[in-house]
Every structure is written in structure tokens, then in C-alpha cells.
């Protein structure tokens, strides 16, 4: 492996997240930067800029660090960003790399005080002998300035790599999960956290399962779910016990013995779990499928959608080139009727739960001009091939869409394609076919 970074590697987007109103969209990248986009209000004067997103603020969230005890680098890559619900004029978000979570406050300044007594306009001290009367400084309007400041740094809470953070509906606590443990923090307290899940075995040689994702229930502040590398989901109730090692519910689909292979476990590993907005369902992503689970039914998912089943016969190659370990995320739309996830070749997929129709779309500059309608794509596995179909063997596995986000209320989606961010808006109800 080359010792230097490729020029644009730091720009690779590693997380995307809308805030609770959808007005702001935050992205984190491999270089530890956070870029926040703001939706321009729709104005009659400029009808063409209908609620488009422009850059609002950019800041360096995390820096690379070196763990001297282990002689290992700690990457500055932003793994997750989660917005806090807005409580005043300022916006706040949590951003995390592998080890440290930070609370950032974003404020706007559009007024500036003028008319100081002791300083002149440039800030230099006045000659006091020239001051004959006192004046009260006046706030004058100025160009909008967005200021970002780190308010809290939650460090030293994790021995292993943080994969998820989730803000509780109580708006006062949040959890952070690494491979083996989940901690509960109070947003105002940085020097201590409460361990609520610990699956580390006494003997590390016995380790066979890790935590892959976790999330708080959107409404019940005592409930959270975490997923594992063996494909199971555990719903935990913090009221039942302080250390939630015993799950309240275990969601696991029994394995189909006829389709078992050496790769079965790897492809069953859950890479993302998301509660529906209603709080009634969970959405999981494993390597080849997305599944919808009903919280009331632990035995199996209620819906399973094939994302790219044509890869099933290629698993060995994908194991060899490590693609089989790619962690794709998944997302619900605002009404929980459509689910979305990314795939390879800059494709992303949407599944309509009601009509059972699905579509494959591509995020690329060639196929997306501003205000152009996205054309559905198709992957063919042999046999008849239509003109614009892509054959499985032509898929570019370096172009992976791991991170996607859906506006909380409207049909606006944000797609991270390596170091490019695509924002698609739906002006007219689109057909799924």
C-alpha cells in the first residue's frame, strides 16, 4: 500500500445526515471535515433555485491522532454525524471518529457592535485623552457569519472503534457503540459514561461476534436496538437492567440450510439498522438484502428486498477483494413507505413497500444534469440484454454508495458517491418501475 494518501482520498464522504427539519444537511469525510449545507428558502424572485442546498459551513472536526500505547494511528475519518433537536437559535450536532465524539454548536452572527468607547473601528486602543463622552455600542447588521465551536469532547470512552451514535428522544442523553460495547452519555457530562452493553468475552480468543450498529427508539427513551455481525438484532430496555446484556427481544431469521455456504455468515452481518419514523419497524441492511422487521415479531423479517442478488454467485471474488465487507447504509423516507440503500457502480436502489415496485438509479455526473430526470438502470446477468443495461461483469466495485440519507419529510435524498455528494429532489411524484 502506498505510504502517501491519494490526492482526493481525504474528500471521500463517510457520512451524510439531514437535521430534524431537513433544512440542514451535514456530511463528514475521511479527512475529518464536516460540511453543512443549508436549503435555500424557495423564493418567488428566483423560481429556479427552488429550495436547493448551498454550503453553509465547513469546519475541521477531528484530526488524526496517534495512540502511543498501541503504536497505532487513530483515523480522523468521521464515522457518524447526528443532529441534536434544535432547542434555540443555535444548531448542534455530534460528530465522531473511531474514538472520540464531539458536540459542535453552530451559530449565526448577522449583527456587529459598533461604537466602542475604548477602541476605534480597527480595534486599536483610543487615546483616552480624546474621549470626551461615553456612548453605548450599537448593533449594526453585517454579512451573515456562521460560527462553529466545539462545546464538548467525549473522549476515552471506547477501546474499540465507534460505529454508531444515536441521540435519545429525551434530548439529554445519547449512546455510542463500538465493536464490543455501548456507552450512554449525558450531553453535558464529558468525563464519564455509563456502559450499557458489553459483549466482550473474558478471553478474546473466544470472540466470534461484534456489534455492528445501534440506535435509540425514536419515541421510547428506554429502548434501543443493536445489530451484530451474525445477523441478529437485539432490542434492549434500559429499565430492565442497568447493564443490558440480556436483550428484551432477539430478532433473528433462521438460516436457510439449502443456501448455506462458507460466506453465509459474512453476508448475514448487519451493516446498518434504522427504526422507522413511526417506531413500529426496523430496517436492516446486510450484504445482499434490506429487511423490514416488525418490533412485535422476532422470528423473521416481515419484508425482504434483494438489493443485488446477482452478486450471490460472485461472493468468493468479493471476499477476495474485500468488497464483501463493505458496509452499506439504509434509509426510510418520511412516511416509512419507501426504503433506500446504495449498491455498486454508483447505483442506489429504492423499494416501495406498498406497491412492491423497486427501481435502480445511478448517481453520476454523466447521467445527472441539473433538473434532469433520473433514468432507471438495470443490471443484466446474461441472456437478453437491453441497450442500456449494465452487465454484472462491468460493474465498477470501486464506485460504492455506502451512505445515503432521506429528508425527514420531503422527497429529497442525499447520496454520497465516493467524494461527490448528489442531492436529488422530487418535484413530481415519480413512477417506480
Amino acid at each position: 500500500m502506498p505510504s502517501h494518501r491519494m490526492p482526493s482520498e481525504a474528500d471521500i464522504i463517510s457520512t451524510v445526515e439531514f437535521n430534524h427539519t431537513g433544512e440542514l444537511l451535514a456530511t463528514g469525510d475521511k479527512g475529518g471535515r464536516v460540511v453543512i449545507f443549508q436549503r435555500e428558502p424557495e423564493s418567488k424572485n428566483a423560481p429556479h433555485s427552488q429550495g436547493e442546498y448551498d454550503v453553509y459551513s465547513t469546519f475541521q472536526s477531528h484530526e488524526p491522532e496517534f495512540d502511543y500505547l498501541k503504536s497505532l494511528e487513530i483515523e480522523e475519518k468521521i464515522n457518524k454525524i447526528k443532529w441534536l433537536p434544535q432547542q434555540n437559535a443555535a444548531h448542534s450536532l455530534l460528530s465522531t471518529n473511531d474514538k472520540t465524539i464531539k458536540l459542535w454548536k453552530i451559530t449565526e452572527r448577522d449583527k456587529r457592535p459598533e461604537g466602542y468607547n475604548l477602541k476605534d473601528e480597527e480595534g486599536k486602543l483610543k487615546d483616552l485623552s480624546t474621549v470626551t463622552s461615553l456612548q453605548v455600542p450599537v448593533l449594526k447588521p453585517m454579512d451573515l457569519m456562521v460560527e462553529v465551536s466545539p462545546r464538548r469532547i467525549f473522549a476515552n470512552g471506547h477501546t474499540y472503534h465507534i460505529n454508531s451514535i444515536s441521540v435519545n428522544s429525551d434530548c439529554e442523553t445519547y449512546m455510542s457503540a463500538d465493536d464490543l460495547r455501548i456507552n450512554l452519555w449525558h450531553l453535558a457530562v464529558t468525563d464519564r459514561s455509563f456502559n450499557i452493553v458489553d459483549i466482550k468475552p473474558a478471553n478474546m480468543e473466544d470472540l466470534t461476534e461484534v456489534i455492528t450498529a445501534s440506535e435509540f427508539h425514536p419515541h421510547h427513551c428506554n429502548l434501543f436496538v443493536y445489530s451484530s455481525s451474525k445477523g441478529s438484532l437485539r432490542l434492549c430496555d434500559m429499565r430492565a437492567a442497568a447493564l443490558c446484556d440480556k436483550h428484551s427481544k432477539l430478532f433473528e431469521e433462521p438460516e436457510d440450510p439449502s443456501s448455506r455456504s462458507f460466506f453465509s455468515e459474512i453476508i448475514s452481518s448487519v451493516s446498518d439498522v434504522k427504526f422507522s419514523h413511526s417506531g413500529r419497524y426496523m430496517l436492516t441492511r446486510d450484504y445482499l438484502t434490506v429487511k423490514v422487521w416488525d418490533l412485535n415479531m422476532e422470528a423473521r423479517p416481515i419484508e425482504t428486498y434483494q438489493v443485488h442478488d446477482y452478486l450471490r454467485s460472485k461472493l468468493c471474488s468479493l471476499y477476495e477483494n474485500d468488497c464483501i465487507f463493505d458496509k452499506f447504509e439504509c434509509a426510510w423516507n418520511g412516511s416509512d413507505s419507501v426504503i433506500m440503500t446504495g449498491a455498486y457502480n454508483n447505483f442506489f436502489r429504492m423499494f416501495d413497500r406498498n406497491s412492491k415496485r423497486d427501481v435502480t438509479l445511478e448517481a453520476s455526473r454523466e447521467s445527472s444534469k441539473p433538473r434532469a430526470v433520473l433514468k432507471p438502470r438495470r443490471v443484466c446477468i446474461g441472456g437478453k440484454r437491453r441497450r442500456d443495461d449494465i452487465s454484472v461483469d462491468s460493474l465498477d466495485f470501486a464506485k460504492k454508495i455506502l451512505h445515503t440519507a432521506w429528508h425527514p419529510a420531503e422527497n429529497i435524498i442525499a447520496i454520497a458517491a465516493t467524494n461527490n455528494l448528489y442531492i436529488f429532489q422530487d418535484k413530481v411524484n415519480s413512477d417506480m418501475h
Partner: protein, 241 residues
């Protein structure tokens, strides 16, 4: 990524009679491929020693895969394993046929599964071949351990790999790490004490404790916070700091 346009190679069939399938001479035997997958997995575990801490999830999944393969090899009694051993390591460019290895793990029947390409969606196209760069695979004498018949030795070196990986993730110098975390560990108990108001016994629900913990905090959405912040700001301006 995928090897395309690779011509079929005529394989020497002497090492394994099962390979002598009419018209499918290029497909290595199941046990050969399984061995290759095992080797590939062990190499992947070794390559985990990079500058950045290895991905634990990936390591665990690979380790589990290795265990599965070895368990199956043990179940098979390695009776078939004699063949690859006698001719040494198979050339890597005949490494893996995806089609075979992605099939079901073999049951108790002894026969090697006949690759039924008639059903394959890739019918009419050359089988996919995974090419492992020969430079990646260690050719040191140690690697011959992995090729040996005995599952015990396989397990020994595998265990060693696992140990190495998990060791880097564990404390290298336990005593100092203990000290580093001792403050935090004990603070867990302190927090617990504070929250529950009890020293021992069953721990009550967390939310109750948190409610009391956060009692002093102002209610969300109150205008107090923003007023205070603005007041601070105004005072700052007035005292011209």
C-alpha cells in the same frame, strides 16, 4: 477485480481423480478450492497488521470463516487432503471457482460435487476465476504448515494469527492501560452510586436515575438559555473584552 477474458488452462489432472470431469478439466476439486479459501483467509488475517488498527468486525468474520473451513476439513477426516499435499501447493492462478465454493457446504456424502454448469446463470461463459497475486501469499516454510494434512497444525498457526490480531487490540502493557482506564472504570461505579443512591444490590432503572441526574438542567425549549447567551454577549460588548 474480476478476471475477464481469461483463457481456460489445461490442468494436470494427475493429482486428483475427481478433476477428471469430461469437458470441465479446468475446475479444481472442491477440497482444493476449500484449501485455497482457507489460505486466502489466513493471509487476510495476517495482513491485518497495518498502521491503522485492524477492523475488528472483518477480522472476526474472517476468523469465523477459517474455523468453519477447518471444522469441515476435520469432519471430512482430511481423507481427500492427501492429494493436494502430494503435489505441493496448487498454482494460484487456478485458485477459486466462485461457482463451486458458493454452493452449499457439503453434507455427509463423500463425493465431490459435480459442477453442474447447466443450471448456472453463467452458462456459456468461462467460469469466474479469482486470481490471488502470488506475492501476497507467503512462501516461507511456515506456510507449508498450512498446507499440511493435519488439522491440528492448521489450527495451531491459525490460533497464532488470531492471538496476534486480538493482541494488538488488547492492551499491550496491561498494567499501564489498567491505570489509564482505572479512573474511568471506578467512575462508572461512582455514577451508578450517584444515580441509584445505593451502594450494592440490584440496580434500578436507568431512566429514573437519569431524571434525577438531569433535574438541575433547564427544560428543553425554554427561552432561558437563549436569553442568557445573548445577555452574556451583550455584557461582553459593553465591557469591551
Amino acid at each position: 477485480m474480476f478476471a475477464r477474458g481469461l483463457k481456460r488452462k489445461c490442468v494436470d489432472q494427475e493429482e486428483d481423480g475427481e478433476d477428471a470431469l469430461a469437458g470441465f478439466g479446468t475446475v479444481p476439486s472442491y477440497s482444493l478450492q476449500r484449501q485455497s479459501l482457507l489460505d486466502m483467509s489466513l493471509v487476510k488475517l495476517q495482513l491485518c497488521h497495518m498502521l491503522v488498527e485492524p477492523n475488528l468486525c472483518r477480522s472476526v468474520l474472517i476468523a469465523n470463516t477459517v474455523r468453519q473451513i477447518q471444522e469441515e476439513m476435520t469432519r471430512d477426516g482430511m481423507g481427500r487432503g492427501a492429494a493436494p499435499q502430494s503435489t505441493g501447493r496448487a498454482p494460484l492462478d487456478r485458485l477459486v471457482s466462485t461457482e463451486i465454493l458458493c454452493r452449499t457446504v457439503r453434507g455427509p456424502e463423500a463425493g465431490c460435487p459435480v459442477p453442474d454448469l447447466g443450471d448456472s446463470p453463467l452458462q456459456g461463459t468461462p467460469p469466474e476465476l479469482c486470481i490471488v497475486n502470488s506475492a501476497e501469499v507467503p512462501r516461507s516454510p511456515q506456510s507449508s504448515l498450512w498446507e499440511m494434512d493435519s488439522p491440528r497444525e492448521n489450527r495451531g498457526s491459525f490460533q497464532k494469527s488470531l492471538d496476534q490480531i486480538f493482541e494488538t487490540l488488547e492492551h499491550k502493557s496491561p498494567s499501564s492501560m489498567e491505570e489509564l482506564f482505572s479512573d474511568m472504570d471506578s467512575s462508572y461505579y461512582d455514577l451508578d452510586t450517584v444515580l441509584t443512591g445505593m451502594m450494592t444490590g440490584a440496580k434500578p432503572g436507568l431512566c429514573d436515575g437519569l431524571e434525577s441526574f438531569a433535574a438541575a438542567a433547564p427544560a428543553p425549549g425554554s427561552s432561558c438559555k437563549s436569553d442568557l447567551a445573548e445577555l452574556d454577549h451583550v455584557v461582553e460588548i459593553l465591557v469591551e473584552t
